[in-house]
Point group: C2
Chain length 207, copies 2
């Protein structure tokens, strides 16, 4: 195996190795030393040299995925522009996430990583999945709300939170042991989520 | 402070301290030493003496709560026996969990603990929240299914999983910083969940 030793390729190798180890074992069960060893760096200080703290490493993994996610969101927004159907806008919420996972093929660790960002107390403090919403995410959520004029803002906000929880955690549960071509699994997961979320958002809130 | 030094009270103190530390910092960020120190045991081997591995400690915390949960499930089953309303049976799914959290008052760490059981790769392997379903849980879920005769079994199973994910994770997100009387927060969380799950289960699956 030939390995380029540029800082950029080392950085890249750390990101990919760390993400896999985090997904498989949990962010706080993995040491910088394990990441260095698995990445074949033979230098235990490489991780802290390139990323500083574990929080910075986690943030870098998140941001890398969010770039692809935003490209897929832009595409979805273009496709459904002008629609007044709740189902279309929930497709724009769900599909970029599952399409991104399709693009990762069997090498997909991101859903499990994102699920930990939403759940682990110390990672939630970083506010990445909850608060770090992009402009495009806000545009899509505004369009979802536009289809639900009768829902009280507090109920809407609660259901937005439920939607995020469901998408990330259900995908995380489907991710281990994917086949080489994961298209069918993610398409079916997306359909299940879009159907369920359409019912969830439309449910009366009167009790 | 007077402390009885019987093995039972030591065991109890370890369980309570471990649960709080696990909820606040994450199961894998907490060492046996920290648990011993915080429990005021002055003996670093107390945790492994009483519980063996961390997995056994996690299981003991889970089982202790599941006893109370099953008592609340029995009560709910009695109240709604004979009903053919989906909403009633979803109340039996949601309420025992939130009523248990009400009983823990501001001293509630269980939802965050259970959320980690469902998400952390190493804890999921223990199969506690996913598979460790009690007889009463199965009776309630069968009644939910009885209200949805047209839903394909695979879709039903997927929505059962979504329901579990939503209940545990939404409660975990409401749990930090509870007031002394948490009744109102958990009642409102329960109502939000029951409304949303009623829509989620009733959504057509035809796409």
């Amino acid at each position: 195996m030939t390995r380029s030793k540029t800082p950029e390729s080392t950085r890249q190798r750390i990101l990919e190795t760390a993400e896999r180890l985090f997904a498989e074992h949990g962010v706080f069960s993995v040491s910088n030393r394990q990441i260095s060893d698995e990445a074949g760096l033979g230098n235990n200080t490489a991780v802290s040299y390139h990323f500083g703290s574990k929080a910075e490493l986690v943030r870098a993994i998140y941001l890398r995925h969010n770039e692809s996610l935003d490209r897929l969101r832009a595409k979805a927004l273009e496709q459904y522009a002008g629609s007044v159907q709740l189902r279309d806008w929930l497709t724009c919420v769900v599909r970029p996430f599952t399409d991104h996972l399709v693009s990762l093929a069997s090498n997909s660790w991101y859903a499990r990583f994102a699920a930990q960002l939403m759940t682990e107390p110390k990672l939630r403090e970083l506010g990445l999945v909850d608060v770090g919403q992009t402009e495009l995410q806000r545009t899509i959520i505004d369009a979802v709300h536009g289809c639900l004029p009768d829902l009280a803002p507090a109920v809407r906000a609660e259901r937005d939170e439920m939607a995020r929880v469901l998408i990330v955690h259900m995908c995380a549960r489907r991710e281990p042991g994917l086949p080489d071509d994961s298209t069918e699994i993610w398409n079916s997961t997306a359909t299940g989520l879009i159907n369920a979320l359409t019912g969830l958002y439309q449910a009366p809130a009167s009790h």
